[in-house]
Every structure is written in structure tokens, then in C-alpha cells.
Amino acid sequence: MRQSSPPISASPSPRYPRLWGFALVLLVAPSPASVSLDEKAATKDDPAASRVAFLAVYKVLSHPRCMNCHPAGDAPLQGEDSHPHAQNVKRGKDGAGKYALKCANCHQAKALPGENMPPGNPNWRLPSPEMPLVFQGKSPGALARQLKDPKQNGGKTLDQVLHHAAEDTLVLGCWNPGEGRAKPPLAHEEFVRELRTWIETGAHEPE
């Protein structure tokens, strides 16, 4: 049977003007940043340079594309104003939602075409409730401390944090957020470069 079907990219109904102002991440990733992650970090302790670098990193981490899936509460955020996700979506026991409101029920493996249509990633989720990795409401110093603490950062070394930022498709998706969503204020390469500088100069915490 052949049929003419409407495309999935149908524009959102005007009845729901802002509901898909979603945050975060997508599947189709740009090339990872051109940093040599395997080089041994030639650490030169430089507290002032380190703090400056982290403030640049912070601009990205506190941007809605990153922060919206690192909420202080139990619900994802969406939109440029980081409002609570429509439909009262909740984190669930593994970060991937609850019951008939699991992330993958609406979010596909890649962003759907059309302004403010659901963005996508095959592994779309929030951090788990045991390791919530909260970005929302954190000062630069508090966020830096969290990133350095394996008990709060998913058990990662700083090298692993750098790898995560450079290569994880959920992170990379912030720079490919689907139509109608702003990208973080730094290019991904620049973000990774600043993160690397922060680490190599001693991972000092801004005040």
C-alpha cells in the first residue's frame, strides 16, 4: 500500500506555543573538539588562570542547554527560561522518567525536524537520583567543587570529566539542539579548551 503521509516535521500547534522549548542534548553530534585528550596534562599550577578558565566553562554549564537536564529538583527543565518540563515529567528511579512518561516515549534517537519539536538522543535522560549532578542554582565555586568530587560527579577523575565533556553524545548534543533552541555561549571546542585549561592549571575553584 502506498500513501501520502504527512511528515513528522509538522509545525507545533499554535495551541502549544512554547511547550517544546526544550533543553539539552541530541544525537547527531558534531565532531569532538580537537583537543588531545590522551596527552598527559602538563599541569602548571596557576590559580588565577584556572579560575578564569572555569568561569568560561561555567557559562556553558549554566546555560539552559546544559542546565535543563541538571535540575535542582526532580523534574527536567525546558526552554530558554528553564521552566519545569511540560506534563510534569519526573526523573524516575534511573533518570529516564516514570511510567508512561519516560524520556524515550517522546524523544527519539535524533531531533525531529521542525521548530521546537522534541530534541533527541538514544540515551536521553537526567542523571540518576543517587547522583543528580545538579547544575541549577550552583555558584561557580560550588559547581567547580562538584565537578572535582568523584562522590558527586559520577565517580570520575578530572581526565574522565574532560573526556565526558569532549565526547559524550549527550554533551555534544547541546551544540545541535534542534530548531528553535539556542546553543551554549561558547563553541564546543572552546568549551573543552577552557575545561582543559582549568584542569591543567590546578582546577582551582572560583570564589
Partner: protein, 156 residues
């Protein structure tokens, strides 16, 4: 040609891989119990099950369903479907009825994962399914009634 399984039956459909699954279910296969509401995954009227998980078929490309088990309201197995449908009838849940197949498909996922839900659990599971008639209080009562019926059936 794409092959998909719907309600335990195989279908060969000549559609583009990015065709919304909802269109294939309704227009190509002819199962019209699943409804089109908003087309942007907001309302839940198009909820079906994909390998047992709720999915909004209006935004799900048919290619995602290849090799997976699709279940629509017409094929919801009796272990959950019968008590839910009985409760819906007993409490006269629907008003216009348009959203109700999506409501029942969402409720089935809730009861499978949580056979004895509290009101808060029901709200967590059902809040994404919009009912313009406002039948939410009856939906909540019907889910509790179905849960009781399932528990009684299991105790027999």
C-alpha cells in the same frame, strides 16, 4: 517495503521510514482506535506500546518500530486490558471519549510497573495524557478499581 508487527500480526507496508507510526497504524493498516491529537507529542491521544513501553506514535518514525512489538488499544492483552476496560465502563469514565484509548494505554504501563498505585503515582503516570472533558477524577478512580480487580484475580 517495511515490515512491522502490530498486535501480534505482521504487516508489510510501503511507506517512507520517517512516516509517523500513527499514520501507518491508522491509515495504512486501518486500526483507528489510536487517535491523532496534537501531532507534537503533547497530548497522549496517540499512545501505543512499543516493546511494552508507552510511545507517542505521532512523533515516532515507523523505522523505530521495525523489529519491535507494537501494541495498540485494539490488541492490549487481557491481563491488563480487561480490568482497565471493565473499570472504565463501570465508572462511565469517557465523556467524548477521544483521548481514552491513549489514557488506557498509559494506565496499562502504570499498572504493569506499579500494581498498587497511590493517587500520586496515578498522577505521575497519567499527567501527560490530556482530557479536554476533564475526566481525570474518574480516570484516577478507574485505575484504582482496575488495580483492585487485578489484585483479586491474582489472589484467586
Amino acid at each position: 517495503m517495511i515490515t512491522i508487527r502490530v498486535n501480534r500480526k505482521e504487516y508489510h507496508v510501503d511507506v517512507e521510514p520517517d512516516t509517523p507510526l500513527l499514520w501507518v497504524i491508522r491509515e495504512t493498516i486501518g486500526l483507528t482506535g489510536t487517535k491523532f491529537g496534537c501531532g507534537v507529542a503533547q497530548c497522549g491521544a496517540c499512545t501505543i506500546h512499543l516493546d511494552g513501553e508507552a510511545a507517542r506514535s505521532c512523533v515516532t518514525p515507523v523505522e523505530r518500530a521495525i523489529g519491535r512489538e507494537i501494541v495498540t488499544i485494539e490488541g492490549l492483552p487481557d491481563d491488563l486490558g480487561r480490568p482497565l476496560k471493565d473499570a472504565w465502563i463501570a465508572l462511565d469514565v469517557p465523556q467524548c471519549g477521544y483521548c481514552q484509548s491513549g489514557q488506557i494505554m498509559a494506565a496499562a504501563v502504570l499498572l504493569r510497573e506499579n500494581p498498587n498505585p497511590t493517587d500520586e503515582d496515578v498522577d505521575d503516570g497519567m499527567t501527560g495524557n490530556i482530557c479536554r472533558c476533564g475526566t481525570y477524577p474518574r480516570i484516577r478512580r478507574a485505575i484504582h478499581l482496575a488495580a483492585q480487580a487485578i489484585a483479586k484475580g491474582a489472589a484467586r
